[in-house]
């Protein structure tokens, strides 16, 4: 298992995504799949950067693991306010241009890209677990 822990600020997005890219790249070689995992990671991270720490700065920890050659697990932890994005309704993806909203699209993309996604509040920590089968 590999992990990275950094302040929850947008300026660290590239470092987190480089971490995901390198870690996932050890297990799979399909560029499209790696991009899909990077996308899910970015969407989860950006939500944390924007909403998890409204009062004071905090950290995000990301773990990347594979139990065999097929299952890749990305776990993202923050100790910000409790937030389960998975419980939000999916956005209306059929609205026309004038009515189309972007809110909720990030979480929706995570659900669509990942094979499994779970949220847990463990003590004072939000834990988002995203699983992909290579």
């Amino acid at each position: 298992m590999k992990s990275i822990r950094l302040p929850a600020i947008i300026e660290n997005l590239d470092k987190f995504i480089d971490f995901v890219h390198t870690c996932v790249g050890e297990y799979i070689s399909i560029d499209k799949k790696i991009m899909e995992i990077e996308l899910a990671a970015e969407e989860a991270l950006v939500n944390i950067f924007k909403y998890a720490y409204p009062e004071k700065p905090g950290q995000v920890e990301m773990q990347c693991d594979s139990d065999d050659s097929k299952k890749i697990t990305i776990e993202i932890r923050d100790s910000g306010i409790p937030f389960n994005g998975l419980s939000r309704p999916d956005p209306d993806i059929t609205a026309d241009l004038g009515d189309r909203k972007i809110g909720g699209l990030g979480i929706f993309l995570i659900k669509k890209m990942a094979d499994e996604v779970r949220y847990n509040r463990s003590g004072d920590t939000n834990v988002l677990t995203i699983v992909f089968y290579a």
Binding site: E11, D14, E42, F49, I93, T94, R100, L105, G106, L109
Partner: protein
Amino acid sequence: MELNVKNEEKGTLVSVTGRMDAVSSPGFEVELGKLIDEGNINFVVDFSELDYISSSGLRSVLATAKRLKGKNGQILLASLKDVVKEVFEISGFSAIIPIYDSVEEATAAL
């Protein structure tokens, strides 16, 4: 993300290279906003060198499309890589933003 802008007879061709993520994609909206302010309202965006797009990138394309709609202009996308096309399809954006297989086809549709 890098943008290359070329004025053509029927409109403005914008070629995007790299990644449209939460850090870079606001730049797309800002740069196209400047071009719109200068009076350009018909755009073809060449995504053939765009490797990656997230919801932030979709947001900047949507904001630009909405602005252009208010001016009777348009933004047509061309030559999307598979992974980028997938994001447009999953999000339903391919139903509201026209997508063409090539820059030539998009330009012909302006």
